[in-house]
Structures are given as C-alpha cells and as structure tokens.
C-alpha cells in the first residue's frame, strides 16, 4: 500500500495486438502539477482514459488517495474527487454555460429521485447551494458575461475555459487536463497558464496534464514525464526532460540542439 496521493503501478493497456501503454509507473504528489508529454500516439490520453476508468487497464494498478481505483465504475470516479477535461472539448453544447457547470455538480447531488420529481424543499435548498458553487467558479474564471449563453454559441477559447470550470465545479482533489491549450492562440494559452497556476495555488488542486505546448509545460509543471510508444522515456523537471536525448530523438529524430533547451529553461 503506497501513501502517495496518486500512483500508477506498471499499468498497461493493450487493444488487441496494439500495446498503447506498456508497464508505466509514476507517482503524483499532493499539490503538484504533473505533465505528461510525448509525440502523437505515445499513450498519453490512453493513460487519462484509464484513470477516469473509461478503459480498464490490461495490467497494473491505480491508487488514488489511499484507495485502489483500478476496477471502480467510471461514474464513481467523480465522487472520489477526480475531474477531467477533454482534448476536443466534450461540453453539453445544447445547454447554457450555467447548466454545464451545474452538471459538474452532479457528483455532489444526493437527493433521491422521487424528491426531485416533487421538488421538495430539501431539493430546492440543494439547488441554491449548487448554484452558489457554480457562481463561485464563474467568478473565479471570469465567465460572468457568458453565464446564460448556449455553449454552441461560444467561441472555442471560451469553451476551453468553461470545460475547466465544469471540472472545478465538482470540487476535485485531482484534475486531469487533456491538452488544455490545444486550439488556443498564444494569448489564450498564456491565460490558461494563469488559470492552472491559480487552481494549484488558490484551490490547492493537484493537476495531471497532457500537453504539447512546451512553453506552457515549462511554465506550470513541477515535474514532467515523457512517453513514447507507450513507454516512459524520461521523468524529471521540465528542462531535464526536454533536454533528455531520448526525448529529443522521439520528437525530431536527431541529436539535441543546445539553444532549444536553453530557451525553454529560460521561459
């Protein structure tokens, strides 16, 4: 039994003959930002899907907060305190921003079905409470002016933030961010870096992040793990990992160029 906040032990995921992830182990400490990088098809999102229990690992165990979550039902993950965002944004597009955030509160709603059908006073009180929490998140992420708009009418950059907000609404202990900067312009990516810092500092949420934008990775990560073809290449600080010869070879297929590492370390 490990006392780590989150740990993956020798996890593997095979799809038929394809070994998407093979014997990967890592620990995440409480309060840190842990980034996973790697070229396309390295198995980053597969690891996320195993943690959020969309996939069941072929082998290995996942532990979270002193509990084995390897075989838990997917819908119970949120209640344990793990929330996530998706690479291609999976918001509820025909609902308003506020409704999306309220759905994020689902893991905290305990009212029995019949009392919901009758809308008993206890349900009403719980709804007001959910709304207060959602409004806190709206304020935290500066989303006030979009509150009652349909997601379908919002620009991509805002949707990314809304998805972050929906995850925060569940008051997670661990937040999984799948490419938070994909599709964002430079300015929006910088904004995202600030949100991530704030979430870590103000809300003390632990974050595991899959990301391609090395500037963002370097700016917010405490530790970085590099994957290629389902295996770990390197683990350590952002500069260490990016300078690691295997990592460079995986990305560009050649020897490291010194200036590249320097500029990243300076960022």
């Amino acid at each position: 039994m490990s006392d780590e906040f989150f740990s993956a032990r020798d996890i593997a995921m095979h799809f038929g003959g394809i070994r998407a992830v093979e014997s990967v182990s890592f620990d995440v400490q409480r309060g840190e930002v842990f980034s996973i990088i790697g070229p396309n098809g390295a198995g980053k999102t597969t690891i996320f899907n195993m943690i959020s229990r969309i996939y069941t690992p072929t082998a290995g165990t996942l532990n979270f907060d002193g509990q084995d979550i390897t075989r838990i039902a997917p819908h119970r993950i949120a209640r344990l305190g793990i929330a996530r965002t998706f690479q291609n944004i999976e918001l509820f597009t025909n609902a308003t921003l506020l409704q999306n955030l309220l759905i994020g509160r689902h893991s905290h709603s305990t009212a029995p079905l019949l009392s919901q059908l009758a809308f008993l006073p206890s349900v009403r009180r719980a709804e007001v409470d959910h709304r207060k929490r959602a409004e806190e998140v709206i304020e935290f992420l500066d989303l006030q002016r979009y509150r009652d708009q349909l997601i379908a009418n919002l620009p991509y950059g805002v949707r990314k933030v809304v998805e972050l907000g929906r995850a925060l609404c569940s008051q997670p202990k661990l937040l999984l961010l799948d490419e938070p900067s994909s599709g964002l312009n430079t300015e929006e990516t910088e904004g995202m870096a600030f949100w991530i810092e704030d979430i870590k500092k103000d809300l003390s949420v632990t974050i595991i992040m899959v990301e391609h934008d090395m500037k963002l990775v370097a700016a917010v990560s405490d530790r970085v793990m590099a994957l290629n073809q389902g295996r770990i290449l390197a683990m350590g600080s952002s500069a260490e990992v990016q300078g690691h010869p295997d990592v460079v070879r995986a990305y560009i297929g050649g020897e490291p160029e010194a200036p590249r590492v320097e500029s990243v370390a300076a960022a």
């Binding site: 969309i54 819908h75 119970r76 996530r84 998706f86 509820f92 919901q116």
Partner: protein, 357 residues
Amino acid sequence: MSQLKTSYEQDLSLAGTRSNVVWYGLLLASLLLVPLAFSEFYVGEMSFVLIYSIAGVGLMLLTGYTGLVSLGHAAFLGIGAYANAILLSRGVPFVLSLPLAGLISAAAGVAIGIPTLRMSGLYLAIATLAFGSIVVLVGEKWHGLTGGFDGLPVPTPSILGIAVEEPTGIYYLALAVLVFVLFVAMNILRTPLGRALVAIRDSEISAQSMGINLAFYKTVSFAISAGLTGLAGALFGHYVRHLAPDSFGILLSIQLVTIVFIGGLGSLHGAIFGAVFVALLPQAIALVRDDLPFGIGQLPGLEPSLFGLILVLVIMFEPTGIHGRWLKLKRYFLAFPLHQRTSFRRQKSYAKSERLR
C-alpha cells in the same frame, strides 16, 4: 418587461417572470372554460389534444432531453390503456387504476430500457420498433386478457362515486393530468436528474466523467417517459371507449414521434405545440378534403403521407420545430426594427438525437 433577478431562488421558480404567471394563468383559465363555450364535438377534440400533449411530454423527456429515439412509444400508450381498462373491469377504483396504469407502463419502460442500454440512433429506433410490434402482437393473441381482435370495452370511470362522463369529464381529467405531468417534467428539468439526461444526450463520455451513471439514468428516462405515456394511454382508452390492439401500432408511434419533432426537440412548449398540430391535422384535412382538386382528398393514405411530408420538411427547414420558429418570431418582434437577418437564417445544427451515430 423582464425583471432584474436578485436571488438564485428566482431562477428556480417554475413560472419565471410575473408576466409569465399572468399569461399562463389566463391560458389555464380559458382552458377551464372550454366546455362551457364549445359544443361536445370540440370538447372531445380538445381532450384529444390534451391526451396527445401528455404523451408528447412523455416522449419529449426521452427523445428531446435524453436523446433516445423511440419508434415504439404507442406500445406504452397501449399498455397504459389496457392496464387501466382491465383493472377497472376487475373492480379496481379509477383513482388507483390510473396511477397503476402509469406504473405498469413505466415497468414496461424499464423492461425495454435495460436491454437497449448500449444502443443509440438507428439501432435503438429499430429495437423500439420491434418492441412496439411485439406488444401489438401479444395484445392480439392474448385473448383471455385483452379480448384480442374483439376489442375491449372501457368502463366509465368514477371518482368518489361521481361518474366521469365523456366528453366534459374526460376533458377536465385530461387537463388535470396534463398539469400534473407538466409539473413533474418541469421539476425534472430543474433538478440534477434533468441535467443528467441532457448531459447524456449531448456527450455520454463527459456525462460519465461528471459522475453520471449512464445505465441508471437511461433506464430512469425510459421508465418516466413510458409511465407518463401510459397515463396518456389510460385517458386515451376513455376517450375512444373501445380498445383494439392494432390501434397502438407503428402509425400511432410515428404520430408521437412527429409530435416531438414538429414541436421542437428539447422543449416542453414544443411537445404541446406538436400535440396540438398532430391532433388537429386530421380534422383540418377532413375540413378541406372535399374541396381539394383532382380528387386528392379521396386518395387512400392521404393522412399518413401528409404526416410524413410535414415531418421531412420540418427536419429539413426548421430542425428546432414550431417552438424554435416561435422563439425566432418573438425575437424578431422584440428586436424590430433592429433585427439581424442572420438571426433568422435557416438552421443547420441538429440536436444529437436526430443524428445517427
């Protein structure tokens, strides 16, 4: 005039603004006065609209809000109608037989919901279509229970010893049930349950990662939808007074689907608009039938073909249905003369339930 909101409670109130309270109050009052002002024929037609509205709200929860298509919903209408009639003829009082009809229908909804949990789109449509046909077949063959092709007479219901007569009694009964059903539906939509259904419709994967148990909520959606449709069925039985299994077949199912699509998916208003349209269309056809040129009015199958044509046209040109059109009109007049042409452009975005995955 819109009021400035000052508390979260205001967003939870069913009526919303004060002007809404006035308008819906007026609507309810005029509905209560219908039997005093109109002849029995029109009261009967209005009861029919109300019954279709109840069924429409039931199917709207499943198709419009959970994104699950059902081409067998007439079966739930039939199960409700038969359950109610059989219970009544065995001496169960109406105040019990009506809710029991809803519950039995809901149980049937669970029975079809569980095996079809992993289906969506076309597959679910075919599975529910098959379910609908099976129910009709069972109704025809199980002579001892349903009377088969001979049909089943529906006893006149009585509440507290007072007989509820056609058409006025049934009209008020249907109105009361519709108000109850709308109350339940609106409660669903403002609670975690309703949000879970919408979440499942828009993205199953993220619904799951928000902690929503897909299997449970899909089954609940089927159960509630079937239950409400079963209530409509019980009243439908009293409206037609004589049940025959084949009247709950595919044609009626398609009418129910037409209600939610023409009305506008994902809106309770839409369910009512659609029900008014679908329930009154045959009457409208009957009115003009003799005046149509080239003997079109005498062609067999005119009604189903018109339903089909209208369904196709609505899906192509106004996917948000009558309700969506109504919202656009309202916005047009609110913004007039500053409206923007783009706001009223033809919509090409579809809710997920219309898409085959």
